[in-house]
Symmetry: D2
């Protein structure tokens, strides 16, 4: 596979009604497989900001105090992805005794992935299968088959348990349901945010996206239960137990939000070994455990 | 205040039906204000075990693989507490801009503390009060006033939202409701486990306990919304976003559990400056942010 | 009080995609205190329809089978209201032993009024008050004080339990919450639909409305927890345990709905003893038990 | 099929703590296919009681006011069942246009059968099947296959939505889930109570039972999704939208309940054409619409 170079930009606009604090998580993640070639952010009007790394997630968070009035935050990054590709057959599943202690939090029940309430369905549907990548892929396919991608059909309170019976949602709902099932079957699974580059034209222009990483052997493998992206073309931003941990913008204060503007561009420079994202049957990983 | 020396022991017995993995979190926490003088654990029958520290919580987790048959884990510790005491009036509240990034996870909605669903009630009930220790104490008192301590009235699926309307629960339910309200008002708040030394005789012998720490200024202050303990006498074990993060025993496999046996003893040695836990109106903290 | 003559019309338009059955409940109720002076309905295109009275509710239901294509149903009625007015002080509360057996269904837990989950809050908030009209009015006022009338803040799945914590909703949500509390305190309470004549101009033109009737002594007294209407000016349509029983249109089939058009006009003819609806402190009833 | 004669008795004991009102629904139903040969009830200590028929359900309700102290209610009945048997193939399904208006309430969403939240699953699982008895039987079998009969695994607040994911419950939970799915597919379906005569010895002695009736053609056909009874041997007591409508004892006041004692005996008198209940593949109905 050629390397992939992805460029994305985000423009977030607000009308701030009272002094507010914003904590943005739109900065590209840094992993062994995702290198940042360049990035730039700008805050208008100019304000002192603080870019920090949250230790429990590794997310890069930009905090800004803002006065009332219009406010804009823009971010641009170029990242190069050199995913770790593996044949699904070659991937084993961790014995629980070998799961790293810091992955235990991705086994736990959480606000949007109520593992405790999804366990019976998970074992009924998937419990007879052999453990490993194939079982996880079967979960992904099951979620995709039952769930209709339908903007507006869910909201910020929607959890996996509701998606299970509503059969519709947006990317975060697909991810929550898949994560809930994976954890119920003792796979550490986490929520990942990135940018959907608009591969499914019917779903509109590039936008924020959410998908899933599951720990198998000693790597986090990427799964997109929506099926609307080419997973090799997703620049990774944040991770966490569920959407609560990886919000693009956490806002304290009274604010009116504009529509986010997300742009995406993949370089195509075969001469330099850079190609467009391609579909693959291989397992894809951007991060070690 | 004199120093306090607390001794507790825990005996957990199981009948293991299939090969299982246990992850115990009963080891005393180590903080600047809680020193471990001695501790000892034993696994019967003997098995290789691994004691690790989870980095996102600091919890000390003992992992053991166990074969079918009877299984017992015992733990004993002596800890010395030198809490940081402050007059409530002298404690300010962090501006959101100053909350450490690693405390942000304690502001988020979680499985048992659904902040997103408790926000309206929190602001209706407490929104008019001045920020600070007094507001947090008012939340504690509100929860205590409405909620009846009633073993058996809740279960492992019970969340703050249910405790809010059911008006009954056990210590973890009181803690979840208080935490939910605190976070809704932008106080980082976390779930803490320890040992309840049986100060409320009607509630029976010493047992595991759960309570709350709230970040104010740069310290985590301790609150027990059940009102059944003397908070200066609580040896701290684990912390986390909610009960999901701080279970005494996480069990993978088919297991029948016996009743946990918890013992507790506070030293009383005035000649050496060691006294029994005393009630206090001061704010108590065992940990810095 | 002068008598009141109310005229309302309803126009419901649809685009029917597959053969469908409609069951409308927009016909004015007939009670001793609400006489129908004239009514008319029309179905376009012409179809055979059936007007029936549901025996458990007394609701008048018009059933129509419709072929694909545009479809319109219009209804117009003139009703004269001669409510039974009583001084709240003169109204007692039924002993449970005296509640008519057919009112028992209005004591039960229902889809949108989960009495079983609201009982603790009901007794905590209102349990110390004397039984009777005053206690019921206190429930109405409590609901009104906490809840913001906000179209779009709830949906067809929203129940009393959610309104209790969300603090917002539309008329049906206010009604469900009040009903839930009343039943928890052993008052038979039912959901009532009518037409809101637009007394609160900020909330827009006349529209369907939902409110509450509570059985006290041997009459159903009317309460509007939204506070946006003059209750003497509400023409009554349907009743039931909750919104599930009294939907304006129950549709079987694939259909796109237009915006309902509701018009309302109150006669003012003092020479004939007909006046406009007036606010009153008296208790109002349109129906005996 | 021979006729069936069933005798059952119920003994309910209480310790009444404050003046209380009881409304019992343990009297056998009277239908064209279930004749009451004899019945007797007794209240100890003697109290005036009132036996009424609730018009919306036809349930026979005995109301008693009771003073503090021990209280016992016993009831005994002999009923003869002459069910209407039909070949499943000969049963059609009502067009919605032909469902009697008074069966509409059995299409609606209710407290324990949240039709609105079960619709997507119902159509996904059963939507491709032909309408009729076979589709309803498929729902029954699906519920039975997924759900474990497990006393103690549910409580009085448990609804169909929870049974769907918990995969366990008691008879009322099985019934609620089946009812929810049937209504979602536009079959009027109602909750029925009776006596389980202990055909499944592992589940213990005779006890109250709950099952389902579904309207097909112009009859209510009986289905027992638990699979633990012979449906021809169930004496029918009450019906309703769900368990809220058909409680064996509704109690107003502070009361401690003893264990109900239920006895059951089926006559076997072949000489007179009376036989024991037999399994059958025919559809069984005890009531017309």
């Amino acid at each position: 596979m050629p390397r992939v170079r992805l460029n994305y930009s985000v423009e977030l606009t607000y009308e701030v009604c009272s002094p507010a604090v914003f904590a943005f998580n739109v900065h590209a993640a840094q992993t062994d497989q995702q290198r940042i070639l360049a990035e730039h952010y700008e805050i208008t009007p100019r304000r002192i900001s603080r870019l920090e790394c949250e230790s429990s997630t590794g997310n890069r968070v930009l905090r800004v105090e803002v006065d009332p009035g219009p406010f804009r935050m823009t971010y641009r990054a170029s990242v190069e992805l050199a995913p770790h590709f593996t044949s699904p057959d070659a991937i084993g599943s961790n014995a629980i005794a070998d799961i790293p202690i810091d992955a235990f939090r991705y086994l736990r029940t959480s606000r949007y992935c109520q593992v405790d309430k999804l366990t019976k369905v998970a074992w009924f549907e998937f419990g007879q299968m052999e453990r490993g990548y194939g079982q996880v892929a079967a979960i992904r396919d099951w979620v995709q088959r039952r769930t209709v991608f339908q903007p507006g059909s869910s909201n910020h309170g929607t959890s996996a348990l509701e998606t299970l019976t509503e059969h519709s949602g947006v990317c975060r709902d697909f991810a929550h349901l898949m994560i809930g099932f994976c954890r119920a079957l003792n796979y550490p699974a986490r929520f990942v945010t990135g940018v959907d580059y608009g591969a499914a034209p019917a779903l509109g222009p590039p936008d924020f996206h959410a998908y899933v990483e599951v720990l198998l052997d000693s790597r986090w493998y990427l799964f997109d239960p929506t099926g609307i992206t080419i997973p090799t073309g997703l620049p990774r931003i944040g991770t966490g137990t569920d959407a609560a941990d990886a919000s693009f913008a956490t806002i304290f204060g009274s604010v009116r939000s504009g529509m986010p503007l997300v742009e995406f561009f993949a370089d195509n420079d075969p001469a330099n070994g850079i190609g467009l994202p391609q579909p693959t049957l291989l397992a894809i990983s951007l991060a070690q455990a």
